[in-house]
């Protein structure tokens, strides 16, 4: 039990001794940590510390050379990103990765692709069960649209939206999949204070209302310390600290990493 009354459960995701390299460059070496069910877990560190690489390993985009990932109690073999998605892992990206030619509504609807079961021929006819299914999902998507307060831009092509809204739509697309584990890669990068406050509210609400486990990367320390239950700190591909925000804040290695020390 945390102070706010949320329930933090067992370990959902366990990362053990992950090592990832590209050619001769080591992006991650021997990193281990875990994410518990229902918590908000932050991954922080200076630029190039391997944070995004870590997320890429978790959702199957990169395949680490060593180490193992245990998700929902089973050790994961090499898997493609779409298999990770099928297991309930959704994410957003550091550089927005929306489908630029589609409307907000279609982008969020695309997040529910895995939940739509009707076959190809039903879709071609758009009749009966296929139409009913489409409408059911439309209703679910409308709830997300309400939740994220983006009703007005429902039909707009996302390419034309301002940056902050695009980030919000991207979160919407990830939420549409109703994930068990939500990975957020710098959800607040490049936002002004108001937009950041909105985004913080959404993240907390998602965690609170839907019980979604969240792992996020963020540079804004204030935000990280306020939002997260536990923080893992990476530097040059290695884990240098892991613990509650308070513990991490007072860790000498972390202070050195952020402020720099004479070598």
């Amino acid at each position: 039990m945390t102070s706010s009354g949320r329930v933090i459960g067992d370990t959902l995701l366990k990362i053990e001794n992950i090592t990832l390299s590209f050619g001769g460059v080591r992006a991650l070496s021997d990193v281990s940590f875990d994410v518990r069910k229902g918590e908000i877990r932050a991954i922080i560190g200076p630029n190039g510390a391997g944070k995004s690489s870590m997320l890429n390993c978790i959702n199957g985009f990169y395949h680490p050379q060593k180490g193992q990932i245990t998700y929902k109690g089973t050790v994961r073999q090499q898997m493609r990103p779409h298999e990770a998605a099928a297991q309930g892992i959704a994410r957003t990206f550091q550089n927005i990765a929306l489908f630029k030619g589609m409307s907000t509504l279609d982008n969020i609807m695309s997040g529910r692709l895995l939940k739509m079961k009707r076959g190809f021929f039903w879709q071609a006819l758009y009749w009966g069960p296929a139409e009913r299914e489409e409408l059911e999902h439309r209703e679910a998507v409308e709830k997300i649209i309400d939740f994220l307060e983006i009703q007005a831009i429902r039909k707009m092509p996302v390419g034309k939206l301002p940056y902050g809204l695009q980030k919000r739509v991207e979160l919407g697309r990830a939420l549409a999949a109703e994930p068990d584990l939500l990975l957020l890669d710098e959800p607040m990068a490049g936002m002004n204070v108001e937009e950041k406050e909105d985004m913080c509210r959404f993240i907390l609400d998602v965690n609170d209302q839907f019980g979604t486990t969240i792992a996020l990367i963020e540079h804004d320390m204030g935000v990280v310390m306020d939002l997260s239950d536990r923080v893992v700190v990476l530097e040059y591909g290695q884990k240098i600290a892991d613990g509650t925000p308070d513990e991490v804040r007072s860790n000498q290695k972390v202070i050195d990493a952020y402020l720099g020390v004479p070598h």
Partner: protein, 352 residues
């Protein structure tokens, strides 16, 4: 004032998801269909059917097929002619080798076989992208060209086979008018199916792959599966178009009609019409098909007979210039112009 959606409230998601949510669009569509099915037959001449309307409709069908692949799924293909040829020759072989087969069935099975071939040549799309893939699809085009010219079995050892009479369920489609209605019905039906596909889950998966394949995979889309489905559906449309071209338009089979120039022609239709638009495919087909006819008509109307060679060269020049002009004027094609027009109309008489 005519084109307004004021007062048309949508009270259900079903109404909002409709293909034409605005009343005026629905009325317009019905009018167009009435003109196509009833109006045209009242005025058209023999030549209008065989020289203009039938080939235009068939090419529009091929353009819809290519647009599904290139405009919606983002895979550029230069093999359209080849896939049309597969449909045509498959249907032909079904008709001569399977006794008493229904011709309509043969046409659609021809499309089905074309879909299989399309999947085969779509396989490289997992590994290569963009122009590399476009060039790779040329491999399909040239290989299929060669196959139908050199392997005589496909043409039943006859250089020019004539199409059998078009009799379906006991109804004979022999006059130009009947053939026109036959093609029109198939094209309308398949255009409707295509429109349904692109506004449903399948279409969204295609567009997701087109816009950003990595993100598409991360939300759970299987890339190869999705791309191959696009290749299959696209080739099916092209195959049916090819079979219609041979059965209904030419009334004969000749491999040269499906060469690489056909592929470029259909690609032009798609680009000028608008990538990612079913309506655009039809508009583009009309435009690209009409230009050469107009260019050929103009000198004759002014009483300046020119040699065929010069006419062909002038046609190339004018066609090339028009393509460039339209790309500069509106790179997103007629579909976008249409949209802008509607927006303007909605605001009229107030500019902006």
């Amino acid at each position: 004032m005519l084109y307004r959606e004021t007062g048309q409230y949508k009270t259900s998601y079903s109404a909002d998801q409709a293909m034409f949510p605005i009343l005026q669009d629905r009325v317009g569509l019905v009018l167009i269909l009435i003109v196509a099915f009833v109006g045209v037959p009242m005025v058209a001449t023999q030549y209008t059917y065989t020289g203009i309307l039938i080939p235009f409709l068939i090419l529009a069908l091929a353009a819809i097929g290519l647009n599904l692949l290139t405009g919606y799924c983002g895979q550029v293909s230069l093999g359209t002619g080849g896939f049309m040829a597969v449909g045509a020759y498959a249907a032909y072989n079904l008709v001569i080798r399977v006794p008493d087969i229904n011709i309509l069935l043969a046409i659609f099975l021809g499309g089905g076989i074309s879909a299989l071939v399309g999947v085969l040549f779509g396989l490289p799309s997992l590994r290569i992208k963009g122009f590399y893939l476009a060039v790779a699809t040329l491999a399909a085009q040239f290989f299929l060209d060669w196959l139908f010219i050199r392997i005589k079995w496909f043409s039943n050892y006859a250089p020019n086979a004539n199409a059998p009479d078009l009799v379906i369920f006991g109804v004979s489609f022999s006059s130009p008018l009947e053939r026109y209605l036959f093609v029109l019905t198939i094209v309308c039906f398949m255009a409707l199916l295509a429109k349904n596909l692109v506004r449903s889950r399948v279409g969204r998966a295609w567009m997701a792959v087109r816009d950003m394949d990595i993100a598409a995979e991360i939300i759970g889309i299987r890339l190869l599966h999705t791309k191959l489905l696009a290749f299959a559906v696209s080739s099916f449309y092209c195959g049916v178009a090819g079979a219609l071209w041979a059965f209904v338009h030419l009334g004969a089979w000749e491999p040269l009609t499906f060469d690489v120039n056909r592929s470029f022609q259909v690609l032009f239709m798609v680009i000028i019409g608008g990538l990612g638009s079913i309506l655009g495919s039809i508009l583009g087909a009309a435009f690209i098909f009409a230009i050469p006819i107009l260019i050929n008509q103009v000198p004759a109307t002014f009483g300046m007979p020119i040699s065929t060679a010069l006419a062909a060269h002038l046609e190339g020049m004018i066609f090339g210039s028009l393509i460039i002009f339209f790309l500069i004027a509106e790179p997103h094609g007629f579909a976008r112009l249409w949209q802008i027009g509607k927006e303007k109309l909605r605001l009229w008489p107030f500019p902006h």
